[in-house]
């Protein structure tokens, strides 16, 4: 059987500062009818650019400089605008990362759904909207006959993403490009969307390119996987074969990230004074309580992971500990002594003992200060070191975070990579010589390899300096690799807490089970098994529950 799509030695360039620089360097790609190809790679790998090029489309400021894209006998690179327009939406469809931004806010969902079929003359409006409702039903959207008549902002993110998948299917295309369709969603919602996508692609035997940075997701969705790195193809193989036996070093290292797990520490003596203890804290923004009666302890030298989906109150808990938000009730203890509620009333010693590392290293470092100034400030402020003593200490800290002092001392944050910036953030926290550090989603903005490096560094520092970590995260893979104890939060309450080993062994609180079981695993059969286990109806129910 001939290929549906063949991309031959394609080169794509993007313009920045009036200079064209390469984004994709001579990648080949082929796709048979009904086949799903996974495109994976870290940020900057050119996955989306390649996906769009498969539609003969380039974003503003990009161009295809050479190569061909052959779709069912038509070369999309040299085809006229009219020919391409006739294919897009009709035979090749696109599902974007953020459905909320990709639906036009001014029109009802169903009107946007029927637009492509009516414009391409595939169906008349009535036919197409009837078909839309059937697709909604098939995708297990709640109220399939009614949901289309809402405006996009009236529908939740996970449902919107499924509606967009239905919209892509409107003309029964031969090929759909999925561009990170679940990246912006919480894990429990992600399952529903993944199941919906996989079902509809199988039902209509549609070929698809599935773009993602998440290996576990691609394992569930794709027949074949192509790995990209900075615009170059690393390797391509069948999914199972690739998972079991990756050939290239880069692929192997990607796979290995998943296996990082440090041994759990022995349990704490009963009766030991925790370093930080949150006691019955209730806190509110305005009149709405975002935390209700939250209590947990963090013991010396341990890592406590606080997990939960967005809006669960885990960051608010951190704000209460640092004193940025004064609790309405309850208090925070440090080494057994009660801390003043607001950071303004805490003394220098109390401030120094608890430090924080932020999610976005970009906004956490002043872009106008050099690395030495950023790290040097707490050294001077808390330790009173100046001149050569300060420089010496800054160099020590830089060495500790594995950055060569002479090379990095005088750079600005903009001259560092994401991972290096995060390391500087760590060094700034260490400079205060604290006992306790809050890590707020420190790895979630980073690529997996870089994130792993940061986790290893944090683990080593904990061993040498005896630090206590509060690790706020939504990523359960991170929890598995670094945590000693786990606190699960939902809607401002602590659902469950306990040592890691116990937490990952069911049975538990239903929410903990749901959350933990929703984390995709590398096993290609994981989604199938999970759906069987839960029963398909369960998914629809969960969606209704979210309404």
């Amino acid at each position: 059987m001939s290929n549906l799509l063949t991309i031959n030695d394609i080169y794509i360039e993007g313009r920045s500062d009036e200079v064209w620089s390469p984004i994709i360097n001579g990648v080949n790609l082929s796709l048979k009818r009904g086949e799903v190809l996974g495109l994976i790679g870290e940020s900057g790998a050119g996955k989306s650019t390649l996906g769009l090029a498969a539609m003969g489309y380039t974003r503003d400021g990009c161009r295809i400089s050479s190569g061909s894209v052959n779709f069912d006998g038509i070369d999309l690179v040299s085809a006229s605008a009219d020919v391409k327009r006739g294919l897009l939406g009709k035979r090749i469809a696109y599902v974007a990362q953020s459905a909320a931004a990709s639906f036009n806010p001014a029109h009802k969902i169903i009107d946007q759904h029927t637009e492509a079929p009516t414009q391409h003359g595939v169906m008349v409006r009535a036919e197409s909207s009837e078909d839309a409702m059937q697709l909604y039903e098939r995708l297990r959207l709640p109220n399939p006959h009614e949901i289309g008549f809402r405006y996009p902002h009236q529908v939740s993110g996970g449902q919107l993403q499924r509606a967009m998948t239905a919209m892509a299917m409107a003309c029964r295309p031969d090929l759909i490009i999925f561009d990170e369709p679940t990246t912006a969603l919480d894990v429990t919602t992600q399952i529903e969307v993944l199941a919906a996508i996989r079902k509809i692609v199988e039902d209509f035997d549609t070929a698809a390119i599935y773009i993602t940075h998440d290996l576990a997701v691609v394992a569930q969705m794709a027949d074949r996987v192509k790995v990209l790195l900075r615009g170059d193809e690393i390797e391509t193989a069948d999914t199972r074969q690739m998972l079991a036996n990756p050939q290239e070093d880069y692929t192997k290292s990607l796979w290995a990230v998943r296996s990082f797990e440090r041994p759990a520490k022995p349990a704490v003596h009963t009766g030991a004074t925790p370093v930080v203890s949150v006691r019955g804290v209730t806190a509110a923004y305005g009149k709405v309580d975002v935390l209700s009666d939250v209590s947990f302890d963090m013991h010396a030298g341990r890592t406590v992971a606080v997990v939960g989906e967005s809006g669960s109150g885990k960051s608010t808990a951190a704000r209460c500990i640092t004193g940025l938000l004064a609790p309405r009730q309850g208090h925070v203890e440090f080494d057994g002594a009660q801390l003043p509620a607001s950071y303004k009333q805490r003394d220098k010693m109390q401030l120094r003992q608890a430090q924080m590392i932020y999610q976005m290293a970009d906004t956490a470092l002043n872009p106008r200060k050099t690395i030495a100034e950023i790290i040097g400030r707490p050294v001077q402020f808390y330790m009173g070191l100046t001149g050569r003593a300060k420089t010496k200490r800054v160099d020590e800290l830089l060495t500790q975070i594995e950055l060569e002092p002479s090379q990095y001392r005088d750079r600005l944050p903009s001259e560092l990579s994401g991972g290096q910036k995060q390391r500087v953030g760590i060094a700034r926290a260490l400079a205060a010589e604290p006992k306790f550090i809050i890590c707020d989603e420190v790895t979630s903005a980073l690529d997996q390899l870089v994130a792993e490096g940061i986790l290893r560094l944090l683990a080593d520092l904990q061993d040498t300096l005896g630090l206590t970590y509060m690790f706020i995260t939504h990523d359960l893979a991170t929890v598995k690799s670094i945590a000693d104890e786990v606190v699960v939060m939902k809607d401002g309450r602590v659902v469950e807490q306990g040592p890691k080993a116990e937490m990952f062994q069911p049975p538990h609180h239903p929410y903990t089970d749901l959350l933990l079981s929703s984390v995709p695993e590398m096993d290609p059969d994981w989604l199938t098994n999970l759906l069987e286990e839960r029963g398909m109806e369960n998914i629809g129910d969960a969606a209704v529950g979210k309404m």
Binding site: E18, A81, T322, L324, Y343, K348, L351, N366, R377, F381
Partner: protein
């Protein structure tokens, strides 16, 4: 009405021609993507541009016509085009020079600079020189009534039509040298506008940052007060307050110009406040400010070491825009007769005093040039500053994405 019909027919003609041009091009080169995918509007644009260039050349030819009646009529069109070409060449040369001397950073800056921006920078430099060294450059004093020289000498220096080579721009109705007054105008108008803008920035900037950092009731009160002040159109408010100041000034023995500086600075500081507060607020919500607060840093360190260094770029662009605004407000007030007071030479007042000469343009174009030169001097500087600001804003927005 016939003029209207001519214009419509003209456009229809261009439309037909554009269609024909695209069709012929497609027929000759059917596989050339440029023509195949060319929208009609683009084809029309090419034809329109072609016609505009031909029209300009034709106008210029008319301005050099042997018949003085025709030449006079197109005198200004011709001069405008000469000025345009001259400025373009000057800007281009300036950029070439900028690319080859100076530090690596400045060279890189000039390499990426559009012609409009290099024109703007060149003009700002020239105006600054004229303003600072007015006393040295100007042949006469700004209010010097030159003995033995007639009033209303025609610009251009041609004795045949009432000019005098010693006074290339002529003299005004009191017999003062217009060239000197124009140069001193740079010192007075630009200088006063600059000082006013500085004052507005000092006021609005410091209050805006304070509001962003402190928040709470201070921010609330300041912002509501600024809302109210901004609800009165600034020129109207300035005129109202100038009326009052005009009564107070002689009683207190303070020059009215000083009042004007303060009044405009206060009115304009409201706009600066808004921007400074917004910029400050965007910085205050950054995590590095939170980190500094949690470290226990004081207010002074926060404002001067953490916030200000990050606010300079947007504030600099705003300074350019505000300067233009202040400059135009002062020029307008002077033009209306309540701004900079005589005997100081200033461009707004010059335009008002000389405006009547425009009516002579049909038969003696040089006579009409004087008021337009003063008005043009105002326009040229604001255009120049705006070009530079536009480029700065474009650069900073481009860097973000």
């Amino acid at each position: 009405m016939s003029g209207f019909v001519t214009v419509v027919l003209f456009f229809v003609g261009m439309a037909v021609f554009a269609w024909a041009f695209r069709s012929v091009a497609r027929a000759l080169k059917p596989d050339e993507p440029v023509f195949r995918d060319m929208p009609y509007a683009t084809a029309f644009g090419y034809i329109f541009g072609l016609v505009a260039i031909m029209g300009a050349i034709w106008l210029y030819a008319l301005s050099r016509d042997a018949d003085p009646l025709v030449a006079n009529k197109y005198f200004f069109a011709g001069k405008a085009m000469e000025a345009f070409v001259l400025f373009t060449i000057a800007a281009w040369l300036f950029r070439v020079v900028g690319r080859s001397i100076g530090t690596n950073g400045s060279r890189k800056l000039f390499r990426q600079m559009p012609l409009t921006a290099s024109f703007g920078i060149l003009m700002i430099i020239l105006y600054s020189i004229a303003a600072i060294f007015a006393g040295v450059i100007a042949p006469y004093g700004q209010d010097e009534i030159i003995q033995g020289v007639a009033a209303n000498i025609v610009p251009g220096g041609n004795p045949a039509i009432g000019g005098n080579p010693e006074f290339p721009l002529g003299t005004d109705q009191l017999g003062r040298d217009l060239l000197s007054r124009l140069i001193y105008g740079a010192q007075n108008t630009v200088g006063i506008a600059f000082v006013t803008t500085l004052l507005a920035f000092f006021l609005g900037g410091s209050l805006g940052f304070l509001a962003a950092v402190l928040g709470g009731w201070f921010d609330q009160i300041m912002s509501r007060a600024v809302d109210v002040l901004m609800a009165i159109p600034s020129l109207i408010f300035a005129l109202l307050l100038m009326t009052i100041a005009a009564v107070w000034a002689p009683r207190l023995g303070i020059p009215l110009t000083l009042f004007m500086v303060v009044i405009i600075a206060v009115i304009d500081s409201t706009r600066v406040y808004r921007l400074a507060r917004a910029v400050g607020y965007n910085i205050v919500v950054m995590d590095y400010i939170e980190a500094a607060k949690l470290r226990g840093e004081g207010m002074g360190y926060l404002i001067f070491k953490e916030i200000l260094p990050n606010a300079t770029a947007p504030l600099l662009a705003e300074f350019g825009l505000r300067f233009c605004f202040v400059f135009l407000t002062i020029a307008s007030l002077s033009f209306l007769g309540v701004g900079i007071q005589p005997p100081l030479a200033d461009w707004g007042t010059m335009v008002r005093d000389l405006a009547q000469f425009i009516n002579f343009a049909a038969f003696a174009p040089q006579v009409a040039a004087a008021p337009l030169l003063a008005a043009g001097a105002i326009a040229l500087l604001t255009v120049a500053v705006n070009f530079v600001v536009d480029w700065m804003l474009h650069r900073s927005s481009g860097l973000k994405s």
